[in-house]
Symmetry: C2
Subunit: 333 residues, 2 copies
DNA sequence: GGTCGCTCTGTAAACGATTACAAGAACGAT
DNA sequence: ATCGTTCTTGTAATCGTTTACAGAGCGACC
């Protein structure tokens, strides 16, 4: 009643286990042998046990993508891109979600060690020495979609947020906006920090001063609403001090948009709004959201390629890829 | 250089492999023994090989959730619920995406066979005999989040879409709408079929006639826009024949909403709009979307519980759970 | 005809863990 | 002191594959 093993197939076909294995793996065999094995396999409904197989050959043919929040549409984009590359290479992709705490990521990388998958793409919100150490010690290749110090010597693919910020500011300035506010995510995260710096730099090149800056507790929609309320807080009854806002990602932007509408401010007439990530949400919301495309799809693709290349050759020197941003202009500006 | 095995730890600690295994699995041992093993483990950074372990014990402690489209926010809700239950039970959840073709699902279930995971929750868009057969033959428990004939004898958790449709229609009627259109997804899918039937029934109980009905090619945002254009097609220059639309899911609803706005129709004043799934998107879009809550979170939770129960006891008779819908009223009606 | 070489198949040893079983140590009771 | 009981530890079998190695069969060539 229980699952047939290769031994059962061998018995049914009247051949040895080695022959069964060979036929199944496409190694040379006589046509008659192949036929007998195939028949027995069909008859018993035999499916090889992938655990035993990968224990022996040392590979699982699975790759893992670890993201912090499946609810964030930017990860959907990335996931699709990664999926495409890895499945073309004959791997199966499994996605796991780490949650917002960095300890989860460290635990994931540690536990990842040989057995669950042949490689890992991880997109951590926060990076600390523990995480880097666990990546370096991990005996299956890891590529980080995010920013990690060069001296860590790990493969990375990251976005150029400062450049992205520059695009956003430039665009708003060209639309005649000068009083630009910023709704960031948590500043103790890698993207949060990068975007804060990028924003400051971009303002400087345009000789502008920040009129308002708020740090949301999270990169989520709810945090965007809350941050929006805070941003508008001082301006309950009069026009706000800003005529444009840049949000650190699309979810925050959309949350903010709701608060703007609730405060009777028209987008883009009263306040222009730029998001970041250019996720599916940017075209789903209303008005459609101008958003900085940080290349999530390309980052996913490149990360997957990097991972495959390193699985192929573990000795190659670590690559650090930066993908360049572009701006998707929509109705919110 | 390579990963230490249990034998290495045993050697380093000067004990036998059996003792190492026992300490690691919390079986009784003297304090001194435990201490030596722990030290050696720390020193070598030993992590057990999960393949070998699960080959021996016959369990992987992984469960799989298979969904058709990661971009659909309803799956995000479901995924979160499943994750919560299975991780509380000590399993790790992996998510794989099947794509819109049913062959992918059959292949997934077939290949799932013992080795990748201890169980599977699958939410198939289409169900045919092949799929049912593969589920029955699968030697790891499978629970279907969706509708499957009772005689198939598989555990299922499904939504009550007819009831959900009734709620939607009732609500619209109570808002004074009588000319209700329907934007369905593909009618050859399980949810598409159920919703079409539910819609027809609900209209009948209210003695209404369908004024327009369109079938989108997909359950996606893009298909929603396209379907929306089709729905409005006949009404290019004059008021449309309907004063309300029910969409078969939130993505379709939001796509449609964009077309309504593009056609200068106000939501809800000119056209009221009801979505289904009550996903995160329903509160993210603008105006916020009234949506039928088909209990995705609860379905996910129940499905996960069913799966765990069946893993526990493979002989229990198959359960068929139906979760009841409710309506989340928002600004679009 | 004998030997070489080639191809095909089977036997058995891994892979790295768990665990049944046996052996040894410690200890108390008689 | 001996025996039995209990507790701890080690040896070795096992899970289901792959694959190195060796043996068998057979044709070809000298």
């Amino acid at each position: 009643m229980s699952r047939p093993t290769i031994a059962g197939v061998a018995r049914a076909a009247g051949v040895s286990v080695a022959s069964v294995s060979r036929v199944l793996n496409g190694l040379p065999a006589t046509e008659e042998m192949a036929e007998r094995v195939r028949r027995a396999v069909d008859e018993l409904g035999y499916v090889p046990d992938s655990r035993a197989r990968s224990l022996k050959v040392g590979r699982t043919f699975q790759l893992t993508l670890a993201v912090a929040d499946v609810g964030n549409p930017v990860y959907v984009t990335m996931m699709r891109a990664v999926e495409e590359v890895v499945s073309a290479a004959g791997y199966r992709l499994v996605v796991t979600t780490t949650g917002p705490e960095i300890v989860d990521e460290v635990a994931l990388v540690r536990g990842m060690a040989r057995g669950y998958a042949d490689g890992l793409v991880i997109s951590p919100l926060r990076v600390d020495d523990d995480l880097i150490k666990s990546i370096q010690e991990c005996d299956v290749p890891v590529v980080v979609a995010g920013n990690v110090p060069a001296k860590a010597g790990v493969d990375t693919v990251r976005a150029n947020s400062p450049k992205g910020m520059a695009l956003a500011v430039e665009h708003l300035v060209s639309r005649g906006r000068r009083r630009i506010a910023f709704l960031n995510g948590p500043a103790d995260t890698v993207p949060g920090e990068a975007r804060a710096k990028g924003f400051a730099d971009a303002l400087r090149t345009h000789k502008l001063r920040a009129v308002a800056q708020v740090e949301a507790v999270d990169f989520t929609f709810a945090a965007g609403r809350e941050g929006g309320r805070e941003l508008l807080g001082g301006a309950r009854d009069h026009r706000p001090a800003f005529d444009a806002v840049i949000a650190a990602n699309d979810l925050l932007a959309v949350g903010l948009m709701h608060e703007l509408v609730a405060a009777d401010l028209a987008v883009p007439d009263d306040v222009a709004l730029v998001g970041m990530d250019d996720s599916e949400l940017a075209e789903q919301c209303f008005p459609t959201l101008t958003s900085v495309n940080l290349g999530s799809a390309e980052r996913g693709r490149r990360a997957a390629e990097l991972l495959l290349a390193r699985i192929e050759d573990g000795e190659r020197s670590p690559r650090r890829i930066v993908v360049h941003p572009s701006l998707s202009v929509r109705r919110s500006t």
